[in-house]
């Protein structure tokens, strides 16, 4: 049966349709790409946690770079370092420190959640886990924020 088929010429109108449909050419692939991370409208808790993790992850990588750049100030000697320390105690900088703590807590605690769920230990409680850990994190964040802004020296 299949032998007979290969001898047959595909009817002309059909051939044209098949050719056009299989040709290289614009076939759209509707993919949001990484912008999907930022679209949390009407998405579930899990997606929000995923996006938060991605964004804080990027943020922390950026911070790491900054941190190394800052540490390199040490190469400039005591004067340079002291100059840096002055900026480091301005309210803006302290605010950024709190943001850093937020990033660390969010990423770390959510990471703990992902590890627990993803390894199959606690697969069915992802929303509850998210709220519990984030609440715990929020408490720690407030505590740290108070200390960052009120600590001496």
């Amino acid at each position: 049966m299949s032998e007979r088929r290969t001898e047959d010429q595909t009817p002309s109108g059909v051939e044209e349709i098949l050719r056009v449909r299989s040709a290289e050419g614009p076939v759209e692939r509707k993919s949001p790409g990484p912008t999907a991370w930022f679209d949390v409208r009407r998405r579930g808790t899990g997606h929000f946690a995923f996006s938060l993790n991605r964004i804080t992850g990027l943020g922390l990588v950026f911070y790491l770079y900054l941190h190394l750049a800052v540490l390199s100030q040490l190469l400039g000697g005591e004067a340079a370092w002291n100059g840096f320390l002055e900026t480091a105690t301005t309210p803006l900088f302290l605010g950024l420190d709190v943001l850093l703590v937020f990033g660390l807590l969010a990423h770390g605690l959510n990471g703990l959640r992902v590890a627990l769920i993803g390894s199959g230990f606690v697969p069915n409680r992802q929303k509850a886990l998210f709220y519990t850990l984030m609440t715990f994190g929020a408490i720690l964040l407030i505590y740290s924020a108070i200390h960052v802004f009120t600590a001496e020296g």
């Binding site: 047959d8 009817p11 002309s12 059909v14």
Partner: protein, 391 residues
């Protein structure tokens, strides 16, 4: 290059078209099928998924009943794994229903449909959600199919055997010359481009659209689109198919579909199979009649309500509601009926009889084209439905 086997163009990608493509491909013919939308998007995909035992027709339409029970048995062999093989019940609720019982049992006996009479307590043990007021139930070999996926297996197998299946290709006209249909003028919906497909024979397998397509060839077919409403509610309220034991009427069947229950159906006649509407009084009737069989239907959360048009064979003078028209099928060779060569219409029928319809039509096609191959669809096991997407 010379074409060594005749080319058949099938218009219509419902169950009939798919089964015909499968049969013709097995007989070695070159097959192209065109469907203006997604396969089974016409009537085929919309039905409640009943694999008929034929018992519904055992009294008043014995021809259909016999067709159904034969195909019912065959389909389970060639499409294993595509059915919930849970059997069905015909349930008597009223005294009137009980009066129908003797004729029902006799009709089933005569048409070869196995039955088992169950007393109310036995029936309720089988199906705890049945109306507890039931008077008797008769067990029959109904089954449930996935209304799209089962027919899709015919498409998948036809494609593997060389048939070219083109969805999203719309037929805009038929090409004729000297009393012969020579092909179709089509528009590829994917690109918007128009072209012509030539064929040695064109088959009109468009169900309730049969008349529209036949008119493109300048002939008439006695098909009336006869829609019915269906209602899906959440909750699988029965595992078996539950039918009302009576001649026939609205809302007299409840079919389980995964975690839903589908109640059907009603009947009226329209002119345009594309514009059916969903009459709300019919939906209400589904609720009312369905809950006579399974009371939980009334309060079950709504999922969907929709209409599907049956292709009923009958002249314009026949019954108005559509329900009295026969549910059998018909192959119309327009050379015989209308003096037009190269054009055949296959129409009528039910979802259950798709293979049988295709066999009869393929015999006619084979005869007309001088192809002397026997039908092999009774014994050919079909590929899984996912193979239709094989590159």
């Amino acid at each position: 290059m010379r074409r060594s086997s005749p080319h058949v163009l099938i218009i219509g990608g419902g169950g009939t078209g798919g089964a015909l493509a499968h049969d013709l491909a097995l007989r070695g013919m070159q097959v192209t099928l065109v469907e203006r939308g997604e396969f089974t998007s016409g009537t085929t995909g919309r039905h409640h998924g009943l694999l008929h035992s034929g018992a519904r027709y055992a009294v008043n339409d014995k021809e259909s009943a016999v067709e159904c029970i034969e195909e019912n048995t065959l389909l389970r062999h060639i499409a294993p794994g595509s059915f919930e093989e849970n059997d069905g019940l015909f349930v008597a609720i009223t005294d009137e229903d009980m009066a129908y019982l003797p004729a029902f049992l006799a009709g089933c006996e005569e048409t070869g449909i196995r039955t088992q009479v169950l007393q109310p307590d036995e029936a309720l043990r089988l199906e705890p959600m049945l109306n507890p007021e039931l008077k008797v139930a008769v067990r029959v070999p109904d089954a449930t199919m996935d209304a799209m996926r089962m027919p899709l297996r015919f498409f998948a197998t036809a494609k593997a055997n060389g048939a070219v299946l083109l969805n999203y290709v719309d037929v805009t006209d038929l090409e004729r010359g000297g009393g012969v249909v020579t092909g179709a003028r089509v528009r590829d919906v994917v690109t918007g481009r128009e072209s012509t497909i030539g064929a040695d024979l064109v088959v009109n397998a468009t169900g309730p659209w049969s008349e529209q397509v036949a008119h493109m060839a300048g002939v008439d077919v006695p098909i009336r689109p006869s829609p019915g409403v269906m209602l899906a509610v959440r909750g699988r309220l029965c595992n078996m198919v539950v039918n009302r034991l009576h001649a026939s009427g609205d809302g007299d069947i409840v079919v389980p579909q995964r975690a839903l229950s589908v109640v059907g159906t009603s009947s009226w006649v329209v002119e345009d199979p594309d514009d059916l509407g969903v009459p709300q009084d019919h939906v209400q009737r589904m609720i009312d009649e369905g809950s006579m069989l399974v009371p939980a239907v009334r309060e079950a959360p709504f999922r969907s309500a929709w209409s599907a048009a049956r292709p009923l064979i009958g002249s314009k003078d026949d019954a108005d509601s559509g329900r009295e028209l026969s549910r059998t099928f018909k192959t119309i060779d327009h050379a015989v009926d209308d003096g037009l060569e190269g054009f055949v219409t296959i129409t009528g029928g039910k979802g259950t009889t798709l293979r049988g319809m295709a066999e009869v039509c393929a015999d006619v096609v084979g005869r007309k084209l001088g192809v002397d191959e026997p039908c092999r669809t009774r014994e050919t096991v079909l590929l899984p439905h996912t193979a239709v997407f094989a590159a």
